[in-house]
């Protein structure tokens, strides 16, 4: 009798859990945001603000705490990626290290981390041209650029105007 009850309970549990598991498989995962630093240009955002950048549907979203800025992707006229580097020890500590004795600050300046840059040009509602620059970890800028191009943004870089669909789209 106990074995039979156990089997019934197992079947019931499987029936409850199976639809949930199937639903989880069919709903697409929300697109992952990229940690970026907005260097300059985004309306209403201070220079050098850290936040999350995400191509969400027809908008490019930048969020920083409660602040949220949307740029319609179809208003993006140019997307260009590049690379840069920054001091491994930055900020106030990096500035203070310049006063370290025996050239310690200079020695620390040799250590730098690589960055990707993403530069966009877009139009506001009045037709005014804006430009924005973001820095992000290496390898992220190209993915964002592909997403932007796939959603209808343009680029001045020849041969990339019609980007191949990203891995995310291919899965869908």
């Amino acid at each position: 009798m106990a074995g039979r009850i156990g089997r019934i309970l197992l079947m019931g549990g499987a029936m409850v859990c199976a639809p949930l598991a199937l639903r989880a498989q069919t709903t697409p995962a929300p697109p992952a945001a990229t940690k970026v630093t907005q260097i300059t240009g985004l309306s209403g955002v201070k220079n050098k603000t850290k936040g999350l950048l995400l191509v969400n549907g027809s908008n490019l979203n930048f969020t920083h705490e409660q602040l949220k800025v949307d740029v319609p992707v179809n208003s993006v006229e140019d997307v260009v990626t590049g690379n840069d580097s920054q001091r491994a020890i930055g900020g106030a500590l990096g500035t203070l290290s310049m006063f370290a004795p025996y050239g310690g600050g200079r020695f620390l300046s040799l250590f730098r981390s690589k960055l990707d840059t993403l530069t966009i040009k877009y139009r506001d509602a009045d037709g005014g041209l804006h430009g924005a620059i973001f820095t992000m970890p290496v390898g992220k800028a190209e993915l964002l650029k592909k997403d932007l191009l796939a959603m209808g943004a343009h680029t001045s870089v020849p041969g990339e105007a019609h980007a191949a669909p990203t891995a995310k789209e291919q899965k869908q």
Partner: protein
């Protein structure tokens, strides 16, 4: 003639040699006559001959608009802004990059004297019909501290100062 007197005469001569040209320069230049303008439209920076990275182009443009808003006393409009069409006393700022040297922040921090970034831009202020009102070459540079993009901030500050010195909403009133 005593040595002390010779010394004092030499000192007076030196002071006069420095002071006279300075005073002459001050008396000849005088205040610049300003042109009437209430707004400036900034056209995106052109760099046909010089290969300028996109981030420098955008940074130049954005810094220029920010500094013009802040320092020139003029209302700054962006390229393509429809509101600029109805603006009174509008001047248009065209900028062309004529020289660019991308330095290295690492080199600046390590050596202090090497690795400077500099950018030369030819600025032309025209009226709405395209007639040239003012032309000048302006240089932006970052020599010791800061990232390479700081050169664009330096350039923007100088250009805003040029606009402030030559244009005013109340000029000729």
């Amino acid at each position: 003639m005593s040595l002390a007197r010779l010394r004092s005469l030499a000192f007076v001569g030196l002071v006069l040699a420095i002071a006279v040209p300075v005073l002459q320069a001050q008396s000849t230049t005088g205040p610049v006559k300003k042109m009437k303008a209430a707004a400036v439209k900034v056209v995106m920076i052109e760099s046909n001959e010089i290969k300028l990275p996109a981030e420098f182009q955008v940074s130049l443009y954005e810094d220029l608009i920010a500094q013009l808003e802040k320092k020139s006393g003029l209302k700054a409009y962006r390229e393509g802004d429809r509101n600029a069409e109805s603006a009174a006393d509008l001047v248009v700022l065209h900028t062309t990059v004529t020289g660019f040297k991308e330095g290295s922040e690492r080199l600046r921090q390590v050596t202090t004297v090497a690795g400077a970034t500099s950018i030369n831009v030819h600025c032309t202020f025209t009226d709405a019909s395209g007639k040239t009102l003012l032309e000048q070459d302006i240089k932006g540079k970052v020599r010791f501290f800061g990232a390479n993009l700081r050169a664009t901030y330096d350039f923007a500050k100088r250009t805003a100062q040029l606009a402030h010195d030559n244009f005013s909403p109340t000029a000729g009133a």
